[in-house]
């Protein structure tokens, strides 16, 4: 049996060890899981839903994770499960956006984007231009195609795991990756990116 002291938390602890401790009510271990995955969760949410409501969505993900931990059957698959929840939250948000998509949310997105750009003083103009193109390239994809591209190509999750996260056959994921890459490549080339 693993004894994880609240004060001695190391990177050597596996996800399943930490989950086991969380199930005993150890909040410190959950904090450690949060620190381990928060960047990936935020990044995925950001690529799928944009900057608005990012903090709220991230909080929703970790709340669902905390509440759902007792139901997690295979603790060794924690990261897959976490990504699944992240994708579900993003998907719910996309549907909400679709229902009440308004000028306000667009404006909010642009404001947040502008703040991000202004904050990043070190970025040169070309970098900002490319970032804008990548953002627009991802946005022009359907949510299904964007999901596989973000999870597989940007978050480095193997196709097999992406298939588990999205509940799809591996062949479907493969074909969606192929389609999404082609669509983004064509978009970028059309916008003048010649190095692809």
């Amino acid at each position: 049996m693993l004894a994880v002291s609240a004060n001695v938390l190391t990177d050597n602890c596996s996800d399943s060890d930490l989950v086991a401790e969380c199930l005993k009510g150890d909040r410190t271990c959950f904090r450690y899981l949060y620190k381990r995955y928060q960047q990936k969760v935020r990044s995925t949410l950001y690529q799928l839903c944009g900057p608005s409501l990012l903090d709220d969505l991230a909080q929703e993900v970790f709340l669902r994770v905390w509440k759902g931990l007792p139901k997690l059957k295979h603790q060794e698959n924690f990261s897959t499960w976490l990504y699944r929840i992240t994708w579900n939250v993003a998907s719910d948000q996309r549907q909400a956006f679709a229902k009440q998509h308004s000028f306000d949310s667009q404006l909010k997105n642009q404001e947040v984007m502008a703040r991000v750009i202004l904050k990043d003083n070190t970025s040169d103009l070309m970098q900002l231009h490319y970032q804008d193109l990548v953002q627009r390239g991802l946005e022009q994809l359907s949510f299904e195609h964007r999901s596989v591209l973000v999870l597989h190509d940007l978050e480095d999750i193997p196709q097999k795991e992406v298939a588990q996260i999205l509940g799809l056959p591996a062949g479907t994921v493969k074909s969606r990756v192929f389609y999404a890459r082609n669509a983004v490549r064509q978009f970028l080339q059309k916008e003048g990116v010649s190095e692809l």
Partner: protein
Amino acid sequence: MNNPSSDQELVNFLKQHRPNLPEAAPDFEQKLFAAIDRNEAGARKLNYLGKSQFTLSSKRSRMIGFRKWVFPSAIAAGLLVFGSGYRAFQTAQLPDNETAKLEAFLVTNWEGVLHDSSEKNMTDSSQTDWLSFSQSADSEPLTNN
């Protein structure tokens, strides 16, 4: 089909130029764990079953309460209805002497009916002539000659 190196170039480009992730609010972590605490407190308040269940949502604990009380009650009510219905269909058990009296009455009554009908047959045989005719006709041996 695209060649793998072309795909890799695209992936590298996307990774290199993906928009910078906005930083989380400084108090994000605090807010998250405060929300978890609130959730826990709410779950404990609603967890009236007295079991030490970990992180129950209020909805879930309500569901468990519902299952705990409704299903046994439904089963008990079903058994009660079945039992009472079964009893209603059961014949009443009479004492032995009452049974004997009832049997005697039925026999007497039945004999009376039979007796009446035989007397009636004797006085009014026209109604049954066709029967005796057919019987006598049947009683004669059939011959092909």
